[in-house]
Each structure stands twice: as structure tokens, then as C-alpha cells.
Subunit: 533 residues, 2 copies
């Protein structure tokens, strides 16, 4: 157990939630934005939370790795989606698990699953607890005697490192900092930096097809997985460690995105890279977001493969302190451990200029030894990691605030953007009297962008979740109607099920149900996620 | 039906088989190599082939799209694996299908599958008929009344092209030349050039995870698929056209490599690219194959992403006329539609030199308008496409000749190479009294190469298939023992089943069986491939 306490209801570390002073300042800003009084509400205290008594007890052979302590049960009740934050903030931990299981090794994991099968207990695999889609909520399905959250935090080692092939064998419970620290000590890095990096785990990334650092090429954790081990209720699912294979459908690709319904990921061989020596970055400003989008399209179709190609609309750029609100900003970057990057960046800037971009400072080149100056990119990175804390702080102000994301073709994007803006603005007006919507591209592909939206609207106390639901539904319907996917990298969980069910091919849904039944015949694993219990 | 006749027993076009004169010349060469008399045997004639009467007739509603003509049945009996060539050459078409079905559209495909379900007829999806692993052999399983080969050749159109997102909607029956001609007319290309390019089809590539043109990054057809439509016996499996998604396990990735057991692929949206304007190429010579391998490792780990990075060992280079037999050769290439390639190639050659490579001619740069000179790379490309014809010609000389391939980590490669060489040389000695083995890398990854082997040994008339089987078994066992995959891009079919069954995770095998049963409950689709009938 980490000694730095996690916030039992909000994002991340307890001590990293903005202070009361900071929240008061934020309240003034947001109040000015929405033209109304906004006041920080008092923070909930764990001692005021009441939980139902556990429906079950750990059997003697699991006693060493089981806990029904209140703090553990509260921390494993659900993830950190907006409705989870509101419920947590209002001390509503209804779906608390009966038990928290903390396996130390694969034998423990198998024992936990056997317990679930024998005692009819649902098992919810738990990594960092950062799901924003209800993916780890401990709902007890009909016919089950209870629910146990299976937390992988004790299995967090880097077990092996192959410098020649550049791969490392890492346990699923390792968080971003835990695995990076060990890899960096050996001169390598996974370079997978989702926004949840500080708390989320390798197993969670694989289970949810997390999106990471790279804007192009290896955008998802999928591309970094060399092989994977998964403990299912009916045996170990272990793929061979090879760089590529054409032997039937990829077993790894069925695990990727399986969200805990097929088994518990225990470890994986992951592709790693040396830390970059050369970096090049440039901030390109566009009067029109559409021109920046056109630059992204040209860049991703150029074969230059920028590592960063993040387009912020004018509002997003202003909120993150990267621009003054009058222009969209493209944060462009290349990095390499092998070669200086002038030819890449020079051509990329030609392309960026070709669609009307302005880059007043030009490109900034850095070698490993150079002192890093604070630039717009650095400001962006800090704001990026702090954003979830900001969301929790806004929840204490009664603000309805969330993000949603998709991917669509370049052909569909202009229409999708208009439809989503219209639908979400209307829904915010109906539900909250108004609000703010921003957009950025997190990843870009030759055939389309991954647009990422943030919304912010004043809530009414006690009605925030209903208000959020109305906005979320409008956003999701608009995305689906415009041909986007319901999620590019936030996963499906419970929140996205209705749209996911329509998006996936119907015969595939039946194949997935059958596949789950084949490896989890008792249906104990994360029931209700991806497929019906 | 194409007007240029296909060779009913051998590779490709009937008129492209090396002539009798050419085969006599080849016999002299091979005879000298093995120190024995080698004589071309007479070619088989279709009129001398006898087939059993079909076990079934097409129902009236399928009469327009069904054929039981002898030539059609013979051409659809099996693929072009070495045992198929020998059987065809000796006029043994035992597993001829009872019927050949030629659907014109999806409704026809669905009607064919319904016929299979109702009449208990196995349906074997057929693209170009080029399987080298027994993937389309028309074996009639117990309990079935007969077998129909379902040939997609009439569904061969490019239906739509999205220039903005760079994707095209292409029917599954389109061969390489058919689809490239149409794309090139619009300024684009799929740039997927497997060795079977002239005859194989988009649907076949997707069903078998074919390997294509690119040595790095987008090595398999998998990476070019944006979405796919598959007609299953229980409904249409159609994925949404998006550049990427994190919504559950990828439905497309379960179709990729499904080898016809889940449904019939009818069309796909494929990522396309403009034809390259700039090309850079260089041939780098290495005294030791291992040094060339080291160069490949460094190149693929450099982030330069060469489009060609093909390492030939000394024997392979000599056989293909690229070198004199004293050195391994690395065929290195870059191409781009966006930018000149000097910085890329310059750095790549630094790396190639760094491991002991010599590049006497230096890099050759070409702009689109330049006249293409014949170089070692061009000699290679011609030999590459002619190789399957050469194999058929060698079959007429009684030579046991085949290729096999794998992928493994860089760490495992030296050991795998030694083990495979030893096992195959021993097996050739035991079975044939000796033989020749060559190796090249077809594709390379940051974590390992895809080694591709060719073997050649004198056969004994009537025993060639048994001799081949002994060598193939030795090769496959050695690959498995050294940690390689049983196939990087040749697929599983029937030939690789024993090794595939051990390679895939056991719970995945059960999941795949269950998935198949969910979409093909009657088990009519390609029974015996990937899973037991």
C-alpha cells in the first residue's frame, strides 16, 4: 500500500486536490464565466461515509490477501468518471465491494478466481481505479452472492528486460511512475503517458486500449504489447513472445480492450525505447481551427510521423494558457534517440505554414544535455496532468464538467464537429442554462483525427448527475450519428454500452459473448461490462 | 472468368510456366548443383485428369452462379503449396469440390451460405487460390454431404474512393493488379505487394494476414484495413469506418487471420497512399550475415522506418543474381510522396556502415520523372515475382522445393538461425541425400526480424511429398523450439495446424471455437482450418 494517501472520493492523491484557497479562486473564475455565484462546498470526510455490511467474508485461505476495511472498500467502489466523483463527493458508496483482494502472484489470482466461481462472487479486476466510463464499478448482478474488487497493486515489478530486442516483462499492477522509474534506470522507457499516468497501471492500459504519448503510429498501448499473460477462470492465456505473427487472429488483440471480462492480465512483454536524445518542438498558430485540422491531415499523411501533433481550439488553448483565445494552436513535436531532427521539423513546418499557420518563435531544438526551458509545450504538459485534479475541484463547486472523445475520418470530421458542438451546446443550455465546450486533437491518423472535447456547465445541487447524463447522451448520439466511434481511448465500461452495442458488428457481439462464456463459464468476471451478465 | 488461362496444376498463368527449353536449362543447373542427372518430366494435361462425379448439384436458385465444370473443379481443389503442386502435377485432384460457386454480390454470398447450412455442404471461401498452407483445400468432413468452393472473383470492383481520408472501398475478390490499376488511375495505391500479388485477392490477404511491401511499420495487410464487411451464416459482420477505436476488442482483428472460418469477407475500406515521388535505394554488402542482421536491428530501432530493409544471405543473394555468393546483401530503400529522402538514407547508411557494411555504389536517388535503370533491386523484384513459377518448374524436375518463414525476437534469432539451419540440413540429408537452404529477412521490427527460408533438394519420384513432409516437420519443430511463430505471413491452413495448436494460448483456442460456433453454428465454413471441424 502506498504511504501517500489517495483521495477516497476524488482524483489521485489526497494532498494534490487544489486547496480551499485555490478552489475559492477557481470559484471566482468560474462564477465570472457563468455569471453566477459559485461557492466551494465542504469536502466529505471518510468518517462520515457509511457502508452496508459486507455480504461475504474471505475464506481462510484468502485471509492474507483480503480486506474488508472501510477505506479499501470505498476506494474500490467505482472509478473516477464524473458521476463517480459526484457520488463520492456526496458520500454515496452504494456499490462498495464486499471484499478487496490483493493477490501477490499468479497463484493468488487463480485462487481469487476459483473463490469467485465456487462462491458465486463477481470479481472486478482493478488497476489504478481511474476508469472514466464505469469500467470497474462493483455492481452485484442477480444470482451472485457478492462482489470482490481484485486489486493488482502488489504485482508491480519489472521482471525482465531484453536490451537487444528492446522489450521488458512487466507486471500488470505497475503504475506509470513505478514502471518508468525502473525502465529509466536501465536507459529505457515505455513512453506511454496517458493523462492517468500517475495512477493507472499497465494491466488497466491493456484492458482498456489506453491512448498514450505518441500522436501518430503507436497511439494506443496495443502497439506496444509484444505478448501478454492472462489468468482466466479456466486456465492461463499466454501468448508467445514474437515481434509479429500471421498465425490466425491475434490472441493479444482479443485481450486488448477486453476490460476484465475474459481474465485478469498479470504481466506483459512490452516494447520499450531508449529515452530520446533529440527533441524538436514548435507551436503553430491558426486563426481558424479548420486550417489547423487541415495541417494535421497533411502532416499525418506526409510520412514524417511527428511524435506530437496536438491541435487545440482557441478556447482550449486559452484555458491551458497556451494562447490568448484568438487562435487555435498546433503543438508539434519530434523526438529521436538516433538522429537530430532538423529535416523532419523543417518539412513539417513547411506543411504547417502551407495551411495558414504562423510560428513566430520557429522551431526549438534540444539535445539531451540542454537545459529545458518552460515553453508553451511545458505549460501544456503540466496542465494536462493537473486536469483531473481540476475536474475534482470543480465538482466541489457544483460544476458539471467532463471530457469525451472519438475518432472519425477526415471526410466526416467537419460535419461531426458541427453536430457535436450544436448538440452539446443545446444540451448544456437545456440542462444547465449554458456552458463551455472546447476541442482538441489528441491523436491523428492518415485517415482521420481523434477529437477530444471538454465541457463545463453550472450544475444544480443534487441534479448534477442527471444534468451530466443529458449532456453525455447528446454528445454520444451526435458522435454516433456523424460516424465516429464511441471511444478512441476511454474504453466502454458501463457508460458507453448503449452506443458501443450499436457500433459493434452484431455477429461480433455474439462471438464475444461466446468467447467469454468459453473462458469464464460462470460469468464472474466484471459482469455487465462489454456484454450483458 | 479471365481470358488468360490459369495453370490448372501449377503456379499462375499457364503461359508463364518456364518453357521446356528453360526447364531443360534449369535441369542442367540443378543437376550440377546436386551432382546427379535431372530431367524434366512431361507436363500433365487436363484431359488426362479424372474426377469423381460431384456428390451434389446446385439448386435451381443458384444455377446461374454455380459450375461443376471439370476445369473449375480442378482449379478449386487446393492451393499452391508444394504438396498441391506435386499432386496437381501427378493429376491427383482427389479433394475436388463438388461445386464451384461464383457469387456476384452479397445477396449471392448469403444465398450460398444458406445453401450450405440447409444442405449440409461445406463452403470453402476462395480468393486467388494461392494458399501455400492448405488453407483452401476442399476436404469433405464427416457428416457433410459435399463441398463447394466459393470463388469471389466476380466481386472485384473498387466501389468508392475517399481522397480526403485516403481510403478506398474495395471488393474482396479484386486481385492485386485489378485493384491497383483502378487506384493508380486515381493517383493512389494500396502498396500491398505480396509475392502472390498477380493472383491473390484482397479478401484472401485479409483472411490470411498477408505480408506486403513495407519492411517496417505497416508490414501486414492488418495495418491497412480501416473497416471490413463479412457475410456470416448468421448475419453481416460490418465494422464502422473509423481511423482507430478503443471500443472493446477490435472486431476487425478477429476477422484478420480468420482464414474463412467465421464468414466470407465481401469488401473492406482500405488505407491507400499516393504513389511515391521520391525513392532512395542502396545495396549494402556484408561479409557476414550476422553483421547484416545487426544492421537491420539498428535500422529498425532507429525510427527511420525504411520502406525496404531486406537482408539476403550469401546463397540467396547469389541465387537471385544480386551478388556473387561471397557476401550477404541488404536491400535498403525509402520512398515518399512528400519529401526528398537524403536525410533518411544518409543516416541509414551511417548505421549500415557502422556494422561493417560496404556500399560501393552509394545511394541512388530517384525523382518520379527519372528513368528507372535496372539495378540489383530491380533484379531482385523480377526474381521475387518469378519465384513461384520457378518452384512449379522445379516440381517438373522432381525437385523438393519450398519456403517457410517465421518471426522471432532479436535475442532469439541467432539461436533460431543455427537450429533451423542444422535441423533442415539434417532433414534434407536424411530425406534427400542433401540440399540447399537459404535465408533472407522479409520484414523487420524493433523487437525482431521475420526470417524467410528457401530449401531445395533432389526428390525421388513418387516420394516427393513424404520427403517434403520430413523437411517441413524438421523446420517447424526447430522454429517452435527456438521461440519463433509458425508463420509470419503464410497463414496456418492445414499445414501449420499442429504447431499453431501449440503456439496459441489454450483458452484462446476455446474462445475461437466458441466464436466460430456463435456465427457459424452449422460449422459449414472451411472446416478443419484453424479449429477442428
Amino acid at each position: 500500500v502506498s504511504e501517500r494517501p489517495r483521495n477516497f472520493w476524488g482524483w489521485g492523491w489526497e494532498d494534490a486536490l487544489p486547496s480551499e484557497d485555490a478552489r475559492r479562486g477557481l470559484a471566482a473564475q468560474v462564477g465570472a464565466l457563468f455569471g453566477r455565484d459559485v461557492v466551494p462546498r465542504p469536502l466529505p470526510r471518510l468518517e462520515d461515509v457509511t457502508l452496508d455490511a459486507p455480504r461475504l467474508r474471505a475464506p481462510a485461505h484468502l485471509a492474507e490477501i483480503a480486506s474488508d476495511a472501510k477505506r479499501e472498500r470505498v476506494l474500490h467502489t467505482f472509478g473516477r468518471a464524473y458521476p463517480d466523483l459526484v457520488r463520492g463527493f456526496t458520500k454515496d458508496f452504494g456499490p462498495a465491494p464486499d471484499l478487496v483482494l490483493l493477490p501477490r502472484n499468479e497463484a493468488d489470482v487463480a485462487a481469487c478466481l476459483a473463490f469467485g466461481v465456487e462462491q458465486r462472487v463477481a470479481i472486478v479486476p482493478f488497476g489504478g481505479g481511474t476508469s472514466v466510463v464505469g469500467g470497474i464499478e462493483c455492481v452485484c448482478p442477480q444470482g451472485m452472492r457478492g462482489v470482490a474488487s481484485l486489486d493488482m497493486r502488489r504485482m508491480n515489478e519489472v521482471l525482465d528486460l531484453d536490451e537487444t530486442s528492446r522489450a521488458a516483462r512487466i507486471q500488470a499492477g505497475a503504475t506509470g511512475p513505478a514502471l518508468e522509474t525502473k525502465l529509466v534506470a536501465r536507459g529505457f522507457s515505455l513512453r506511454h503517458f496517458p493523462q492517468s499516468f500517475e495512477h493507472s497501471t499497465l494491466g488497466g492500459w491493456i484492458a482498456t486500449r489506453a491512448g498514450g504519448h505518441y500522436a501518430t503510429l503507436m497511439t494506443h498501448i496495443d502497439d506496444l504489447v509484444e505478448s501478454v499473460r492472462v489468468v482466466t477462470p479456466t486456465g492461463v492465456w499466454a501468448s508467445r513472445r514474437v515481434p509479429a505473427s500471421g498465425a490466425g487472429p491475434s490472441p493479444d488483440r482479443l485481450v486488448l480492450g477486453s476490460e476484465g471480462i475474459l481474465g485478469v492480465i498479470t504481466e506483459a512483454w512490452m516494447r520499450i525505447v531508449p529515452r530520446p536524445r533529440w527533441r524538436a518542438s514548435a507551436n503553430v498558430y491558426y486563426a481558424r481551427f479548420a486550417d489547423g485540422a487541415e495541417a494535421c491531415r497533411a502532416l499525418t499523411q506526409s510520412g514524417l510521423h511527428p511524435t506530437n501533433c496536438r491541435l487545440l481550439d482557441a478556447r482550449e488553448a486559452m484555458l491551458h494558457g497556451v494562447a490568448d483565445g484568438s487562435s487555435a494552436v498546433l503543438l508539434l513535436g519530434f523526438e529521436s534517440a538516433d538522429h537530430p531532427l532538423e529535416p523532419w521539423m523543417t518539412r513539417a513546418l513547411e506543411i504547417a505554414h502551407g495551411t495558414g499557420g504562423v510560428c513566430p518563435k520557429g522551431a526549438i531544438y534540444k539535445d539531451a544535455g540542454d537545459k529545458v526551458e518552460a515553453d508553451a509545450g511545458a505549460a501544456w504538459r503540466r496542465a494536462f496532468l493537473d486536469a483531473p485534479y481540476l475536474q475534482s475541484a470543480l465538482v466541489t463547486l457544483g460544476i458539471v464538467v467532463d471530457t469525451f472523445e472519438t475518432a472519425c475520418t477526415w471526410l466526416d470530421f467537419p460535419d461531426l464537429y458541427v453536430k457535436v458542438e450544436r448538440a452539446v451546446n443545446e444540451a448544456m443550455k437545456d440542462a444547465c442554462g449554458g456552458g463551455l465546450l472546447t476541442c482538441r486533437f489528441t491523436h491523428v491518423y492518415p485517415d482521420g483525427p481523434a477529437p477530444y472535447f471538454t465541457f463545463l456547465a453550472p450544475g444544480r445541487e443534487g441534479e448534477e448527475v442527471a444534468q451530466w447524463r443529458a449532456i453525455k447522451r447528446a454528445a454520444s448520439d451526435a458522435i454516433a450519428a456523424a460516424g465516429g466511434t464511441i471511444t478512441h481511448h476511454h474504453a466502454v465500461g458501463r457508460t458507453h454500452r448503449p452506443w458501443y452495442d450499436k457500433e459493434r458488428p452484431e455477429p461480433f457481439a455474439r462471438a464475444l459473448v461466446a468467447a467469454k462464456r468459453a473462458v469464464d463459464p460462470s460469468g464472474i468476471l466484471n459482469p455487465g461490462v462489454l456484454v450483458d451478465p
